[in-house]
């Protein structure tokens, strides 16, 4: 029973007075925070869709201009509270590059472990909420169970569960101990065991396939025109991952693959993320294996940093795609401008085109499958 593309079923021209507007959000059970979709509908078919954002705008970029470089550190992980570690460490690495600070080996490895564990936890949460959007409640609780283990491990060394402020210019705040490494190994073992179970429970389910196969196809030029990055891009066959394209930290030392699919639909995005969890497990394993002894910070830390004048750009691969920081320094210890180029912002901006002609139920699946985090979009 192959579902025909809903676009084929759409009436060529629906009379204007049969259409109506539906405000989905900002308070809606599956708008992932405070997204508002202004849908123009004909029955249940979407004529136009306009995402309205800004409900979680906290002016991080303005805050950056009003404080010193180091004071901006805690803000970074609040940009995306689901993979805060990656954003936090990205800022540290950007500043290290600008200030020319050498990071000790051990700190580099610890950062990689923390980054990838955080990526797995973010993907696990996405897995649960995506199934919740499709109406399956049970996977949500299984995933939260697993994610809790990861948060516990990270909590042990960083002292926080979501909004980490673990990085410092030059290293990390606290050294890891054996209990952390054992915990990380146990998490990997557990995730490895559970992923096949998730797949057999979810992936082969006929209803799940019906809901995902061929739904929300994003392929070809659309991706490039909208600057889409991350799993939605890789699900369409483009093996672009910042960890490979411009390696940062010590990612060039690890052996991992960039999972891709070609279909570009919700199912492909689902599969790519599941595979990415597996690849992250591999990276963490190698990093634990190669973790050297040594300091975690380079000598004494300065209190004030005055980077040279100029413009700088630093990109990392967050759990959602290409996260870039454009930093402008005027030579003082306050940044003149920090622009956060967040992946969900660009990914979401393609929605008017992707959602056109789909059904209300697909909207939920598609917006869920690109994994938007609204605080990251609104900044």
């Amino acid at each position: 029973m192959k579902t025909p593309n809903p676009i084929d079923l759409a009436p060529a021209s629906a009379p204007e007075d049969e259409m109506y507007y539906l405000n989905m959000g900002p308070q809606h059970p599956s708008m992932h925070g405070v997204l508002r979709l202004l849908l123009k509908l004909h029955g249940e078919e979407i004529i136009t869709a306009e995402p309205v954002i800004g409900y979680a705008h906290r002016a991080h970029e303005k805050m950056a201009e009003n404080r010193s470089y180091i004071m901006f550190l805690p803000n970074t992980s609040r940009v995306d509270y689901l993979s805060g570690m990656i954003y936090n460490l990205a800022y540290c690495e950007a500043m290290e590059k600008i200030l020319d600070i050498e990071v000790p080996e051990r700190a580099q490895y610890i950062r990689t472990i923390a980054n990838e564990l955080n990526r797995i936890s973010s993907h696990l949460l996405w897995f649960g909420t995506f199934l919740l959007d499709l109406g399956g409640v049970t996977p949500f609780l299984y995933c939260f169970d697993d994610r809790e283990e990861i948060l516990e491990v990270l909590d042990r060394v960083t002292g926080s569960r979501l909004t980490y402020s673990y990085g410092r210019f030059g290293g990390v705040t606290m050294d890891v101990d054996d209990a952390f490494l054992d915990g990380a190994r146990a998490v990997l073992k557990r995730i490895r065991e559970r992923i096949p179970m998730y797949l057999s429970l979810v992936h082969d389910n006929v209803i799940f396939r019906e809901r995902c196969d061929g739904v929300g196809v994003m392929t070809g030029d659309l991706l490039r025109k909208y600057g889409i990055t991350g799993p939605p891009l890789r699900a369409a066959g483009v093996a672009y991952d910042v960890r490979r394209a411009e390696p940062y930290g010590i990612y060039d030392r690890f052996d991992f693959e960039i999972p891709t699919r070609t279909a570009g639909d919700c199912m492909a995005r689902f599969e790519v993320r599941v595979d990415e969890m597996e690849q992250s497990c591999r990276i963490v394993e190698q990093a634990i294996e190669g973790l050297p002894e040594g300091p975690i910070m380079p000598g004494r830390m300065k209190k004030r940093f005055k980077p040279p004048k100029g413009e700088f750009y630093f990109a990392v691969e967050s759990a959602r795609g290409h996260f870039g920081m454009y930093i402008v320094s005027d030579g003082t210890d306050n940044p003149s401008r920090i622009k956060l180029r967040t992946p969900s912002f660009s990914n979401l901006s393609s929605m008017p085109e992707v959602l056109r002609g789909t059904f209300v139920a697909d909207t939920i699946a598609i917006v869920g499958s690109i994994d938007v985090v609204l605080p990251e979009i609104d900044r």
């Binding site: 109406g135 609780l141 299984y142 169970d145 389910n205 209803i207």
Partner: protein, 343 residues
């Protein structure tokens, strides 16, 4: 033959009063028990404990919730269609009481004994969609309207396989014997009489699920859809339509919808028990115990399904009905008719 309540009590008025009280009591207990069961089953499936605090293993949790719902303020939104909005919960709830009173709980006792019992049950079942549409239309809310529109299309579509699969059982009942002997009594079989359907199964020592497995599966799926249970819960799909047709209802009005949903589930399962699982028949234990055991076992399966599957999309749901369920049930009916004619 079962004695009706009126015969036992000697007064029709007294019978109506006790019958109504009994059915209301049963349905109230059912709602409380089902919510508890649903929570526990979902918890076990999700490796949680479920309610544990109020009473032994949280048994009084639903009672506490009901008291809370009773005490809640009834919020009436602006711009509603007042008669429809206020009538809707009653229209959902009242037919449920009528439907339950027709059930064949036991061989020796009945609230009503009507030869057209099955037809009446389906008739009362058909009222639910009316109430849902009234709620959706009267609420003046787009989510509610969308939910109501989905509900109407879904319920009307799934009634066809529901009736067709029940019909094949009715054909079987009337063809397997013109008369049935229970105890020292012999009665002429009426195919639409719920008591007779059970008696034929007892008499021939076979459950109809053995003879009509396809119809049983179709019937169960159709019941899932008719009662808006997952994976067919699209009229109230909470991740899409917030709460669907009952978005604008609060407090006791919302509770009545909930009540109606669980009562409809119970009726669906009771009819399925009668049609396919031999009704009250069973060894040792008294008839009504068997009857409710079988019904609640089916309920548990419905809950199991709900917490396992994601939700279908609307067009897929309709396609499944019209392209799979209805053709299959028609074929099943024809095959049944063919075999009955030949053998």
């Amino acid at each position: 033959m079962p004695k009706t309540l009126a015969e036992m009590l000697g007064s029709p008025m007294l019978a109506v009063a006790t019958g109504l009280g009994g059915v209301m009591g049963l349905l109230s207990f059912n709602a409380l028990f089902c919510i508890y069961l649903e929570r526990k089953i979902s918890a076990w499936i999700q490796r949680r404990m479920g309610p544990m605090e109020v009473g032994f293993h949280g048994m009084l949790q639903t009672v506490a919730d009901m008291v809370k719902l009773l005490g809640k303020q009834l919020i009436t939104p602006k711009g509603i269609d007042k008669p429809l909005y206020h009538l809707a919960p009653l229209v959902v709830f009242a037919p449920v009481v009528a439907g339950t009173s027709l059930m064949a709980f036991s061989g020796s006792f009945a609230l009503h004994h009507i030869d057209l019992g099955l037809v009446l049950v389906f008739t009362f079942g058909g009222f639910a969609v009316l109430g849902i549409f009234m709620a959706g239309w009267g609420s003046n809310n787009k989510y509610a309207l969308l939910g109501a529109m989905r509900s109407v299309a879904q319920n009307i579509s799934y009634e066809i396989p529901l009736l067709l699969s029940a019909l094949s059982v009715v054909m079987l009942t009337t063809s397997m014997g013109r008369t049935v002997t229970v105890g020292d009594e012999t009665v002429a079989v009426q195919g639409l009489n719920l008591f007779h359907i059970t008696m034929v199964q007892m008499d021939r020592n076979v459950w109809f699920i053995v003879l009509q497995p396809v119809a049983a599966i179709l019937f169960f799926i159709a019941v899932l859809a008719e009662t808006n249970r997952a994976p067919f819960d699209i009229p109230e799909a909470e991740s899409e339509l917030v709460a669907g047709f009952h978005t604008e209802y609060s407090g006791m009005r919302f509770a009545l919808f909930f009540f109606g949903e669980y009562s409809n589930m119970l009726i669906g399962c009771m009819v399925a028990t009668t049609l396919f699982f031999g009704g009250w028949s069973g060894p040792l234990l008294p008839g009504p115990v068997w009857f409710f055991l079988k019904s609640y076992a089916l309920m548990a399966v419905m809950m199991w399904v709900r917490w396992t599957y994601p939700r279908l999309r609307f067009d897929q749901l309709m396609r499944f009905c019209w392209m799979v369920m209805i053709p299959l049930s028609i074929v099943n009916l024809l095959v049944t008719a063919f075999f009955l004619k030949v053998f």
